[in-house]
Structures are given as structure tokens and as C-alpha cells.
């Protein structure tokens, strides 16, 4: 690479001017088709019921209605989606025989506009036969619980018991064994732009074109083609330039792509559907709610010997791919940043009458670290050690990298102790502890929490197979899966102007800016001289199964593809320059935007000069060189391998690290939590644009704060949905944001050309842990340990009042 002039700079985002002045191109701004009709989706008002019939007559009679499809059409004309488990679960793009959660699509009405479509949707009559309901994952596994999928026979979609090392021995040999039950809430991301799909069916050439704000993984493209009965090269996915946020949620739009495509195909009109906010809260996607039982075995000195995880992940009415990623996405980093070698994971994926789940920023790492870091504080408490000390004692050390975890993860680089020490120093941890002691003496509830996390980026899609039994995976007909791939093309036009072309489906992360920085450094240009086109089109872009922007991919995969494409192009320029100068290639280099003799003596050829000659006079090219100046690079990680027979898998490709310290005060009267200090230190390798990185950390922290204090997709015991508006589903706003002190430690990844790792999920996975630990510490005088989120003031006050009463009682007895 030429010298880094732009990488590492807070270059202003080229996207912002258009986005902030309302000139973005989102799916709803997209008028790709004339005479588009508008869909409204009829959704189940009941959590569990048999569908006995439909009456569309009133809806179809309404003026302006074009037509409608129901679950009966879905059953007749589509196949169910593949699911990630072997249980016989038939998940179609709409309910066919029964509904299994409130909000499940049962029919689609298409009309000349959305108003009429909604009027008509109101007139669709569905004859439901109500069935008993279960929403709690533990209760769902009772033999007496109503069963959602009769062919499965129970509500267990899958269970895996994964054993690494010798956990039983670790527990036998332990001085201390701790157990705890945790419960993590169901919450989503509520991106500012909801789902949107526009589908056009062309019966002449047999192509269905779908515009949507789908973000990948593009494995969903062939899955959707199969569902619709189309060859993959007859289903075209196009994603507009701008997506208004996703945070993983929009990976689960694909059933709606199938549903709206089916409507377009059956009704022979182009159909547009924009999800409204009510639909989004009701039935888009979320993380799972989980009940976890944790056990930890340790020596007296605080050394962890082993852990046991028992999980019940609630995926709702069906298991929708890529679930059960909720349990297995973090397989390689199950142990987090700690050195212990013995681990048992008993993961059950449970179906109940709730909406469906999928990737949500941090994909299950928020759950994982809430539990693990909670256990670390309980261990410190039991042994009378400082929470920082007990963590220090167990960290993977800098000389152990690359570090292979017992569950198969390959941590590429890092210096965990340095990041922890930086966080403690930035938080003035010792001083905080002194202030806490003083505050406690006056009856104030001040607490300090710590949380550490290995931040896994760029999932290796092979992890999904961890859900399957090794015996199943050993069958000859089973095809192993692995990979993490993305592509980029760079071309230089006849006047030397540079265009970079990607299909990475950015959702606001600033890919255009970042790509322009990388290309500028590689080709010796200024970022504003590089035009970046980032629009996905499965017919014209180079892509693979694992393409897309999810699991913090772009920071290492997309950027690597860009750097490699630029380097290919530079190599071609050098070869061409050598031919023109009649000098050996080895005597030349590409530096500061030109091909120059390494000696520094003699003439040089600028990009513009070379481009002009190459395009205008192909005779000037050396023999065998392809005309035109362009290069496409497809980058894939070679450390992405299929899960092995011992269930070990390197489930991500790059692994960052996060250390956080938070101080809080809990109001003894109202139970309100005030954040006094919050420090987060990250190691994500090379930081390409610090301003964008900081934005990701802010967003991640607020997202984590949402799950910890505010957000829950709540249901009553009858399966009715309680949080259908933003008055009840509370999302933290700027007013709720604490001051966030951010620092970086840089351990470049040896696996990527630029040394960068992903950072997009960041503190969303640590904040639930750090604030729960801080509140537990604050309420230690009352003996309260937080093991359930969100911590609403009402729930917290109830716990405090109960603790005060039992405290008073035990005082009285003494």
C-alpha cells in the first residue's frame, strides 16, 4: 500500500449531505415500475388458531381493489423455507393451516393505493378456531403445553449438547461452584426505515425482479428462489443505494420478499409493500428472549476451571433461518476473553406463540456476555476479590495470539489486559471505588460495573451447521458449509477517473466514504476523486452466498476486497508502465498516483496518462494484457472452515475486544438509574475512519441500553402483544444517552490487508452486562443481584422494597 494519508482520518461522510437534505434513495422513494399497486397484509389477531376458511368477497368488492392472495395460495404455489434444524417445521411466507403468533401474515390485499388496501384488509374475514397458547419457553417444554407444530410433537425445534474439554472434571475439582438463572428480554432494533418490497413479475421472460431493503446474507436469495419455484437466474434482487438502518433486522425481510413476489406473480401487477411501524413492532424480527442457567467452576484464587450453559432460546412461532443462530452464532467465542478450557453448552431452541426472531445487533452476544459477566462479578463477590482482579486472572494473554478457543474460535490478534487497564485508568477506577465507599456510608446506592467481551465480526456461515448433530453432518449426502466472502470492482475511465463498484447493501455505515478513503490511499488520490457506487443487484454484481452487510462484515471483508482490487489494478498499471518505459517491472513502483522508477530517477507515468493511452490506443498494451483498466477482487477468509466432528467452529473471522466500566447511582425512592460514568475501550484493529467508528460505538451503546432498561417486545400470558406503539415500546433517545468516553487500542488483524476488524455491533453486546453489574453492585447492601432485563424502575423498586422488608425482618429477629 502507498502511505496511509486517508485511512485513520475522520473523513466526513459523503453520504450525509444527501441523507440530511432528504435526497437519499430509500426503498419508498424508489419508483422503478410504472402502475405499481399497493399491498396491505392481513395479519392474525390471535396468537394460536386453526384457519378454517377465508371470505374475501367484501374486500374484493371494494372499489380500487386489484386482488388478494391468502395462505391457501401460499400453500398451493410456494414451498416452505428451509430451516436450520432437522425437525419437520414448515415455515411458509404466510400462515397456511394455522396461525402461531399475533401478527402472522394470513393474506395480502392489493389495491390502487395503500389507503384502499388497508380498507380492504379490514374487510377480509378469516374463520379462526382458537387454540391454547404458550409464550414462556420453559412452560412450552412441559408435556402438558399446547404444541405449535404437531409434526414435531413438541415445541422443541432443536437441542444440542456441546461438550468441550472435560467440564465434569472441572466441576469435580473446583473449590467454588456458582449457579445462577438469567433471563434476557426479546427486543429488536426499530430502524428508522421499516421493511419495503417492490416486486414485478415479467411472464414473457419469466423473471421476477424484487427491489427491497434486504441487507444479506445472500444465501436468502437462492432460498427464496426455491420457495417461489424460480431458477436463481430468474429471480433478481435489487437493493437501492440507501437503507435506513437495519442492525441485523432486515436480514429477516426475505419471507416478505417471497410473499409480495407471489402476490405480483398471481395478480399480474407490480406490487409495493412498505411495512408500517405497527407491523414492524408486531412481526418483523427481534432477538430471542432467553432463559439461561449458568454454572461456573473456579479455584479459590479466582481461576476459572469451567462453565456450563443451559439455554432456552425462544424463537417464536416458527424457526426462521438463520436461527438457531441465537444459540450458535457465538460458538467460537463462547468462552469470551477467558482462558478456561472446559465448557458444556446445552442449547434448546423453543417455539412459542410469539413473533419470530433472527439476527439483532450482536446476534446473541448481548445474551452471552450478560450471563458470563454476571457470573464473573458473582465469583469476585464470593471470593472477596475485586471484579477487575478476577477478570485479569483469567484473560487470554497477548503472547497467546493467535488463540484457539476450546470451541474452535481463532482469535486473530489482541492485547486484552492492555484494553482492560486502559478502561480502568480512563474510568479512574480506584478513585471511583473510594467515592463509592463514601457514598455507601451515607446510604446512597452507588455501584460500579465491569464488562469484557470478545467482539466477533464477520460470521463464518459454517457456524449454522453447529445446530445439526455430528452424526447428521457425517452423512455422505451432507454438504459442509463455510465462508465469508465479498467482492469489489475498481475501474479507471479514459480520463483517469476512478469508480469503485460494490454490492454491499450499506444501511448507513458510510461504505462510500470508507471505500473512497481506501482507494484514495491505494491509488494516491483524494477521497473526493473516487466515485463509489454501492448498489446491490444479483444480476450484475459479483456476489456469493455469504455476501451482504451483516455481522460487522464490511470493516474487514468489503474493505479487504476493495484494497485487493486496487492492488490488482496497480499491478496492472505497473506492468503497463514497465512496457511503455521498456524497463523491468521489478524496477518500478506505484507511488503517489503514478508509476515511477524505484530509483527515483527518470520519467513517471501518472494514472491519467496511463489511462488515456490504455483506453485510446490498445496497441500500446503489452502482449497478453487485457484491454481496459479495471480489476475485480473477491476476498474470502481462509480461516472460515466448516464445523468439525467435535462441534468446534471458527464462527467468526476477526475478533475485536471491548472493555467497559460504568458507574451508576440508583435512587432509593424511585429506583431510577443514573449513569455517572461510562467508559468503553475497543480494539477493532486498524480504524479506517475514527468518526464512523465512534458513531457505531454510540449507537451500539444506546442499543444495549435499550435492552437493559427500556425495550421489550412484551406479551401477556394469553399471547396478546402489549408493545405495539412507541408509547409502550420505549427506545432510548438522545435525552437518555449518557456521556460516553471512548478509547481505542489497535491490534491489527493479521488476516486482512488493512488490519481492520468489524466494529458495528460493538457495545450493544456489553452494555446490558455492564449496567446490570453496576446496578447489582449499587444494590449490594440490599443483597440484590440483577439477573433479569430490562430493569424497569417499577421492577427494580419492587425488588428493592422486598429486600428492604426482608432486611428489616432479619434485623428484627436478631
Amino acid at each position: 500500500m502507498s502511505e496511509a494519508r486517508w485511512i485513520g482520518k475522520s473523513v466526513k461522510r459523503v453520504e450525509d449531505a444527501r441523507l440530511l437534505t432528504g435526497r437519499g434513495t430509500y426503498i419508498d422513494d424508489h419508483p422503478p415500475v410504472a402502475n405499481v399497486c399497493h399491498a396491505a397484509i392481513v395479519r392474525s389477531p390471535l396468537p394460536h388458531a386453526a384457519i378454517r376458511g377465508y371470505d374475501l368477497s367484501a374486500a374484493l368488492a371494494l372499489e380500487g381493489v386489484v386482488g388478494a392472495i391468502t395462505g391457501a395460495d401460499v400453500a398451493r404455489h410456494t414451498k416452505p423455507f428451509s430451516v436450520g434444524v432437522t425437525a419437520p417445521i414448515h415455515y411458509y411466507c404466510a400462515a397456511t393451516d394455522r396461525v402461531r403468533f399475533v401478527g402472522e401474515p394470513v393474506a395480502v390485499v392489493v389495491a390502487k393505493n395503500r389507503y384502499v388496501a388497508e380498507d380492504a384488509a379490514d374487510l377480509v374475514r378469516v374463520d379462526y378456531g382458537p387454540l391454547p397458547v404458550v409464550v414462556d419457553p420453559e412452560r412450552a417444554l412441559d408435556t402438558t403445553a399446547p404444541v405449535l407444530h404437531e409434526a414435531v410433537g413438541s415445541n422443541l425445534a432443536g437441542n444440542r449438547r456441546l461438550v468441550y474439554g472435560e467440564p465434569d472434571r472441572a466441576f469435580r475439582e473446583a473449590d467454588v461452584v456458582l449457579t445462577e438463572r438469567f433471563s434476557f428480554p426479546k427486543y429488536g432494533s426499530t430502524p428508522i426505515e421499516t421493511y419495503g418490497v417492490i416486486a414485478r413479475w415479467d411472464p414473457i421472460d419469466g423473471v421476477c425482479t424484487v427491489w427491497s431493503n434486504f441487507m444479506g446474507p445472500f444465501i436468502m436469495h437462492p432460498l427464496t428462489a426455491r420457495v417461489l419455484g424460480l431458477a436463481e437466474n430468474k429471480l433478481r434482487f435489487i437493493v437501492p443505494t440507501d437503507i435506513g438502518g437495519s442492525f441485523g433486522i432486515k436480514s429477516s425481510i426475505y419471507p416478505y420478499i417471497a410473499l409480495i413476489a407471489l402476490a405480483a406473480m398471481r395478480l399480474s401487477v407490480p406490487v409495493k409493500w412498505i411495512e408500517d411501524r405497527r407491523e414492524h413492532l408486531l412481526a418483523s424480527s427481534s432477538g430471542t428472549d432467553r432463559v439461561a442457567y449458568r454454572e461456573l467452576a473456579a479455584r479459590k484464587d479466582g481461576t476459572i476451571l469451567g462453565m456450563r450453559f443451559k439455554w432456552l432460546d425462544n424463537v417464536g412461532g416458527y424457526i426462521r433461518s438463520p436461527e438457531p443462530g441465537c444459540s450458535f452464532r457465538p460458538t467460537g467465542n463462547f468462552v469470551g476473553p477467558y482462558r478456561f478450557q472446559h465448557l458444556e453448552v446445552d442449547a434448546s431452541v423453543v417455539m412459542t406463540n410469539k413473533s419470530l426472531t433472527g439476527p439483532n445487533r450482536g446476534y446473541a452476544c448481548g445474551h452471552l456476555y450478560f450471563e458470563t459477566e454476571g457470573m464473573m462479578d458473582r465469583l469476585a463477590d464470593r471470593l472477596g476479590l475485586d471484579p477487575a482482579e478476577v477478570r485479569r486472572k483469567n484473560l487470554v494473554q497477548p503472547d497467546q495470539f493467535p488463540y484457539r478457543t476450546p470451541s474452535g474460535g481463532l482469535y486473530d490478534s489482541g492485547d486484552y489486559p492492555a484494553v482492560l487497564e486502559r478502561a480502568l485508568q480512563l474510568a479512574r477506577y480506584d478513585e471511583l471505588r473510594r467515592e463509592q465507599a463514601k457514598a455507601r456510608a451515607t446510604g446512597r446506592y452507588v455501584g460500579i460495573g465491569l464488562a469484557l467481551a470478545v467482539d466477533p465480526s464477520v460470521s463464518n456461515m459454517g457456524y449454522v451447521a453447529t445446530a445439526l448433530d455430528p452424526q447428521f453432518r457425517a452423512k455422505p449426502e451432507y454438504l459442509p458449509k463455510s465462508g465469508a466472502v465479498d467482492a469489489a470492482t475498481i475501474k479507471i475511465d479514459p480520463l483517469g477517473r476512478v469508480i469503485a463498484i460494490l454490492g454491499t447493501t450499506p444501511q448507513g455505515q458510510g461504505h462510500q466514504t470508507v471505500v473512497s478513503q481506501i482507494v484514495a490511499d491505494e491509488l494516491g488520490l483524494a477521497p473526493q476523486d473516487v466515485t463509489v457506487v454501492d448498489e446491490m443487484d444479483t444480476f450484475t454484481r459479483v456476489w456469493s452466498i455469504s455476501s451482504g452487510t451483516y455481522s460487522s462484515r464490511f470493516g474487514s471483508v468489503g474493505t479487504s476486497a476493495v484494497a485487493l482490487a486496487a492492488r490488482k489494478l496497480k499491478a496492472k498499471l505497473v506492468e503497463y508502465g514497465a512496457h511503455l518505459m521498456e524497463l523491468p517491472v521489478a524496477s518500478l513502483e506505484f507511488r503517489d498516483g503514478a508509476v515511477r522508477p524505484r530509483s527515483g530517477k527518470g520519467p513517471s507515468y501518472s494514472i491519467k496518462d496511463l489511462a488515456g493511452r490504455a483506453h485510446w490506443n490498445t496497441e500500446s498494451l503489452p502482449e497478453g494484457m487485457e484491454p481496459a483498466l479495471q480489476a475485480t477482487a473477491v476476498f474470502g477468509f481462509t480461516v472460515a472452515k466448516a464445523v468439525d466432528a467435535q462441534d468446534r467452529v471458527n464462527s467468526s473471522n476477526t475478533y475485536g475486544f471491548i472493555a467497559e466500566v460504568m458507574a451508576v447511582e440508583v435512587d432509593p425512592e424511585t429506583a431510577a438509574i443514573q449513569i455517572l460514568r461510562y467508559v468503553t475501550v475497543h480494539d477493532a484493529g486498524t480504524i479506517i475512519n475514527p468518526m464512523i467508528a465512534e458513531g457505531q460505538i454510540y449507537g451500539g451503546a444506546l442499543h444495549g441500553l435499550g435492552g437493559a432498561l427500556y425495550e421489550e417486545l412484551a406479551y401477556d400470558e394469553h399471547g396478546q402483544f402489549l408493545t405495539g406503539t412507541f408509547m409502550d415500546y420505549l427506545v432510548p433517545t438522545a435525552s437518555e444517552a449518557p456521556q460516553i468516553d471512548i478509547a481505542h487500542i489497535v491490534s491489527p488483524s493479521p488476516l486482512t490487508p488493512l488490519g481492520s476488524k468489524g466494529l458495528g455491533e460493538s457495545s450493544s453486546m456489553t452494555v446490558p452486562a455492564v449496567i446490570a453489574n453496576a446496578v447489582s453492585d449499587a444494590l449490594a447492601p440490599l443483597g440484590i443481584w440483577i439477573n433479569e432485563l430490562p430493569m424497569t424502575p417499577s421492577k427494580l423498586w419492587t425488588a428493592m422494597a422486598r429486600a428492604c422488608r426482608s432486611h428489616a425482618k432479619s434485623e428484627g429477629q436478631r
Binding site: M727, D728, L730, S735, E736, P793, T798
Partner: protein, 288 residues
């Protein structure tokens, strides 16, 4: 989230508005700032045959002093009230309450008449109307009618305005000079409806309290005047013991419901906590 079909009237005079409303026999809604009604329409929770939009009735936006009262045209925006010198001088409690109403864009559209007529028991303005013993004027086919705060609120989102009446004016008695006041509110986020709010006003003479007013938001189906708690202060003065006793009494006077945000017990507890906080702050502000 598109509303079902409705007819739309945009009168420019109050008489036209009343006439339009009267034509629908209770099946029309009055549109003021739209901050609650529009979402209800879009969610199809309200399906009126017609809307009568007051936004073009210029005569309904004013603030004036008359007969010891400050009188607000129903369409006076909350943002106008927030910055009104008349309000700052005579109704500092209302000014303080206004800062708790939603967020800036909501206050820019939202109106005092709309907030009170909507009668959300968690809203700030109904609590202030109750605490200050204000009244509203309603105009119907038969003319004007003055309704006292105590008679206005019936239950959740329900007032005793007749279906053909429009709330035209809100009247709040000017607060005496030197009065102590405070609005304490607890919500999960800034700008949310209160889980519980307490509006307090005290008039003190030395340690004596010649008048105390306490009213709730979020602690039952209507704003609750905490008269028995007020009496403790008026009898026993403004010492710590009296404040504690009044706060305890407040918890007995409310009968809140549980919802997704808070249990009934927690709300009851907060009524006491916030009564104490509001009184303590109010007394700090009071001269006398």
C-alpha cells in the same frame, strides 16, 4: 397505518365549526394539534365519520388576563405558553408543566385545549387544571357553558363535553404573588407521559400554610386532587413532619392502575415520593 375514510371540515370561524360538528350527531372528532388524534386515526382506533379541524379558526388562539384569570384560547400552542410572559408571571406552575409536555415538535403543534379535551390522565395539563381549580368553556349549539375542572374529567380519555360541544377556552386563576409551586414527574424517558406526576402549590405565611394544592397525573383514571393531604398542610404547617404526613396521605388517596410501565403499588409509592419532592421544592420557592 392509514386512517379509514373520513370527511374533513376546515372551518375558519367557531360558529362554522360548531355547526359542522353538530351535523354528525357525535360521530365527528375535533382536530386541534393532532398529536394524539392523528395516531389514533392511523391505528384505526378512532373511526369518526368526520374531522372538524380547528387549525384555521384564528379566534381560538390567544392568551389574555381577565377577572383575575389567565384565559387561553383552546388552540393556543403549548410552545407559545412555554414562552409567554403572562404565563411566566401569573402561572409559573403551568410554565413548568409545559416543559414536561412531550418534545419540542409535539409542543409546537400541541394545544392546551386539545390536551385537556383529550383527558389523558397521565398528561400534565389536566393535573395543572385540577391543582389550580381552573375551568373550561365549551361551545355547543345552545351556546357557551363553563365547566369546572372537578366536573370535567370523567374517566380515561373522557370528559363531560357533549359530542356537539367544542372546548373553546381554558381559564386558570392567576397564582398569588410569592406562591410556592412545583411539578414533579417521573417517567421512564424524557418526554414520555408521566408514570406519576404531582402538581403542587402552597401559599405560606411564616410556617403556616394558608393554602395547599396537590393534584396528580398518572395515578388513576382522572387527575386526582389530594384534598385530605392538602388539609394536613393547611392544619399543621409546612414542617417536615407535616410534609411526610401529607405524602403518606397521598399514597392513600390515589387508586392507580397497573400497566406495562409500572405496577399499581409502584405508582402509589411514587405518588408519596413525588408529593414530598414537589412540596419540598414548592416551599423552597415560596415567599411569605
Amino acid at each position: 397505518m392509514k386512517p379509514p375514510k373520513f370527511e374533513y371540515h376546515a372551518p375558519t370561524t367557531l360558529d362554522e365549526a360548531v355547526a359542522a360538528l353538530g351535523r354528525y350527531g357525535g360521530d365527528a372528532k375535533v382536530l386541534a394539534g393532532g398529536q394524539s388524534l392523528m395516531p389514533l386515526l392511523n391505528f384505526r382506533l378512532a373511526r369518526p365519520a368526520a374531522l372538524v379541524d380547528l387549525n384555521r379558526v384564528a379566534s381560538l388562539a390567544y392568551i389574555r388576563e381577565q377577572d383575575g384569570q389567565v384565559r387561553f384560547g383552546a388552540m393556543t400552542r403549548q410552545r407559545t405558553i412555554e414562552f409567554s410572559p403572562v404565563v411566566a408571571q401569573h402561572l409559573p406552575l403551568l410554565k413548568e408543566a409545559t416543559r414536561w409536555v412531550g418534545h419540542l415538535p409535539i409542543r409546537t403543534r400541541g394545544t392546551i385545549g386539545g390536551s385537556i379535551a383529550h383527558a389523558d390522565p397521565s398528561a400534565e395539563y389536566p393535573a395543572v387544571l385540577a391543582a389550580l381549580e381552573g375551568e373550561v368553556v365549551a361551545r355547543g349549539a345552545k351556546g357557551d357553558r363553563v365547566i369546572r375542572a372537578a366536573d370535567l374529567f370523567q374517566t380515561y380519555l373522557t370528559t363531560n363535553l357533549a359530542p356537539d360541544e367544542i372546548l373553546t377556552e381554558v381559564r386558570l386563576p392567576a397564582m398569588p404573588a410569592g406562591v410556592g409551586y412545583a411539578l414533579e414527574e417521573f417517567a421512564r424517558r424524557h418526554g414520555d407521559f408521566a408514570i406519576v406526576g404531582i402538581a403542587a402549590m402552597v401559599v405560606r405565611e411564616g410556617q403556616r400554610c394558608t393554602m395547599a394544592r396537590l393534584a396528580t397525573a398518572g395515578a388513576g383514571p382522572v387527575p386526582v386532587r389530594l384534598r385530605a393531604a392538602e388539609e394536613i398542610l393547611e392544619r399543621d404547617g409546612l414542617g417536615e413532619a407535616a410534609i411526610d404526613a401529607a405524602a403518606r396521605k397521598a399514597t392513600e388517596l390515589v387508586d392507580p392502575d397497573a400497566d406495562i410501565h409500572a405496577s399499581a403499588d409502584y405508582r402509589r409509592h411514587l405518588a408519596g415520593v413525588l408529593t414530598k419532592r414537589a412540596l419540598t421544592r414548592a416551599i423552597g420557592v415560596a415567599r411569605g
